[in-house]
């Protein structure tokens, strides 16, 4: 069995979640605090779009922006000597774009669940906005944020459509687990496909169980 898809998938999902986790939280905080309802709706729509678009369409847009002959892709190539499309970084890019809405929406929901009176109380007690975020809002939203992070990780791990569009299916370089399953089946190698499928099922199950565990821990923590 070729282990490279497992490695590539894990590397991709891990690299993507580091970015997604923090950026998703930042976006969530930004949108939650927006004053204008209409601007809020539009921003929320843009951030959620990859969740509802067919992944191939999202991948198409990525290709359109980061393709080697496109301005941004060209900029990266000329200035940093980095070719994004059809390289490992493209798998990360695809995973980020597809998992960001998960992270953003979970974090936003978690922030909105926090009793606003806690934040008001912090303000009237003279706490700075910075410490209100880190000492009140973030800790009280943590369980929702963590389960959002796990969900986003799983989404990155299972990413197929957008990855196929912008990163291709190059064995040993951009072939992630879902793509490997597809390739095996396409080549008629059901035996090979089974192995990858099994790995994906086990990983996904662990992720979901992990998420439930986090929620469970926090419920206990809150009932102390």
């Amino acid at each position: 069995m070729d282990f490279s898809p497992i490695l590539i998938s894990m590397k991709t999902a891990s690299a993507a979640i580091v970015f997604t986790f923090f950026v998703g939280i930042a976006f969530a905080y930004w949108v939650v605090n927006m004053k204008h309802e209409k601007v809020k709706m539009v921003c929320d729509g843009l951030l959620t779009l990859p969740l509802v678009l067919p992944p191939t369409v999202a991948g198409f847009f990525l290709l359109y922006v980061f393709g080697v002959k496109r301005p941004i892709g060209k900029f990266f190539l000329d200035f940093f000597g980095v070719k994004i499309a059809f390289s490992w970084s493209a798998t990360v890019l695809a995973a980020i774009i597809m998992s960001l809405p998960m992270m953003y929406r979970s974090a936003r929901g978690a922030f909105e669940q926090v009793d606003p009176n806690l934040l008001y109380a912090g303000r009237t007690l003279g706490m700075s906005e910075w410490s209100i975020f880190w000492r009140i809002l973030f800790p009280n939203a943590l369980s929702g944020i963590l389960s959002g992070g796990i969900l986003a990780f799983a989404r990155g791990l299972g990413e197929f459509g957008a990855t196929a569009m912008i990163a291709g299916n190059i064995a040993g370089r951009t072939q992630t687990l879902p793509l490997a399953v597809y390739s095996k089946v396409a080549a008629g190698d059901m035996q090979g496909a089974y192995q990858y499928v099994l790995i994906l099922v086990v990983l996904s199950f662990l992720v979901v169980t992990g998420m439930n565990y986090v929620t469970y821990i926090y419920q206990r923590y809150n009932r102390r």
Partner: protein, 356 residues
């Protein structure tokens, strides 16, 4: 010098909130039905909500002035706010919650250690003062309502506020705990030198705790008066109703000393001058007294046509109409042990409230 001056307008979804009052010291109670903008008023004073126009100031500081474009952040207003649910931080222990209220001077690394020591000492003092010993490391979910309130108060007082705002301080409590905690809060507030504002929909609470009372109707303050005076001789219909007067009727003057209560179809004699703006009269439900059949009194006696009875553990309420001219209902309260359905009831002239 006025210690708190409030004058603002704020457009809300269902009505315009328009408040205008000033107080020197002591405690002001704001009494009003739920949803009339009481909490919103407190939030505006604290700076959590920004009004559309107006001016809010204390003797020392201008909090908000739409003309001068002043709008201090809640952090700078030094207002202590006791939230209805106390808003204790669930992720912090009692001690940490109290320590969160300490306003830090700008941190300088040299002094950091002494400051930490200082914080610990202040928290320890407050824990003792507020009888929270043994609960320092507990989380708020484990505390009783009273303990939560004390923790929240300690946290507020350690932040050294100039003004205290209390939003329905007892609404989250069981009724049997309430009275004890009212006495406790009363004593604690006596040690606070600034002025405080208490919002409530419970007239007893306001009567017990506040030197002055303000009554709010939909979106504005209608009456501002000394509490005792307001409850004993209300001048306005809304005041009478909110201070618990069950029987209120439209009224018209028929003679120099005679009034007809048009809703009840009853005429009353009054022992004092009838004010010109009179439009209502009020009679408290316990001021109706059963009159004997043989009673010789002629004035203010109403023959009773009973309509219904409700029985609470310690008192009866009788719903009745004027037998000779049945119209609107009147309520009469009787203590336990003295219940009866009288033939006639009588009311003392001086007990009749003349209202605008």
């Amino acid at each position: 010098m006025k210690k708190l001056q409030v004058d603002f307008r704020k457009r809300l979804k269902n009505f315009d909130l328009q408040m205008n009052f000033a107080m020197e010291e002591g405690r002001l109670g704001i009494l009003g039905a739920s949803g009339c903008g009481k909490s919103m008023t407190l939030k505006t004073i604290a700076g959590i909500v920004t009004p559309d126009t107006g001016r809010i100031e204390t003797g020392k500081t201008v909090f908000y002035d739409s003309a001068e474009k002043v709008n201090l952040t809640p952090q700078k207003r030094k207002v202590g706010y006791l939230f209805q649910n106390y808003a204790l931080f669930p992720n912090m222990t009692v001690a940490d919650n109290i320590a969160a209220g300490i306003r830090h001077a700008k941190r300088k690394d040299k002094r950091h250690r002494t400051e930490k020591q200082n914080v610990r000492e202040q928290v320890k003092n407050l824990i003792e003062q507020f009888q929270l010993q043994g609960l320092e490391n507990q989380y708020p979910v484990k505390l009783s309502g009273g303990q939560q309130q004390r923790t929240a108060l300690a946290r507020i007082l350690v932040s050294r506020p100039d003004i205290l705002l209390l939003d329905e301080p007892f609404s989250a409590m069981d009724s049997y705990l309430r009275e004890e905690l009212q006495i406790e809060l009363d004593n604690r507030l006596k040690t606070f030198s600034g002025c405080s504002v208490i919002v409530s929909h419970d007239r007893d609470e306001i009567y017990k705790l506040c030197s002055h009372t303000m009554i709010m109707g939909e979106g504005s303050n209608i009456i501002f008066e000394e509490t005792k005076k307001l409850f004993n001789q209300p001048r306005y219909m809304q005041a009478a109703r909110l201070t618990g007067c069950k029987n209120i009727s439209k009224a018209e003057r028929v003679g120099p000393r005679t009034i007809r209560a048009t809703d009840w179809g009853v005429e009353f004699c009054i022992d004092r001058e009838i004010p010109k703006q009179l439009s209502y009269i009020g009679i408290r439900a316990h001021d109706f007294i059963p009159a004997d059949v043989n009673d010789q009194r002629r004035e203010n006696v109403i023959p009773v046509f009973p309509c219904g009875i409700t029985k609470a553990p310690f008192e009866w309420t009788l719903l009745f109409q004027n037998k000779e001219n049945p119209k609107g209902n009147m309520w009469m309260k009787q203590e336990r042990g003295k219940e009866q359905i009288p033939e006639k009831v009588w009311v003392d002239q001086s007990k009749i409230l003349l209202l605008e």
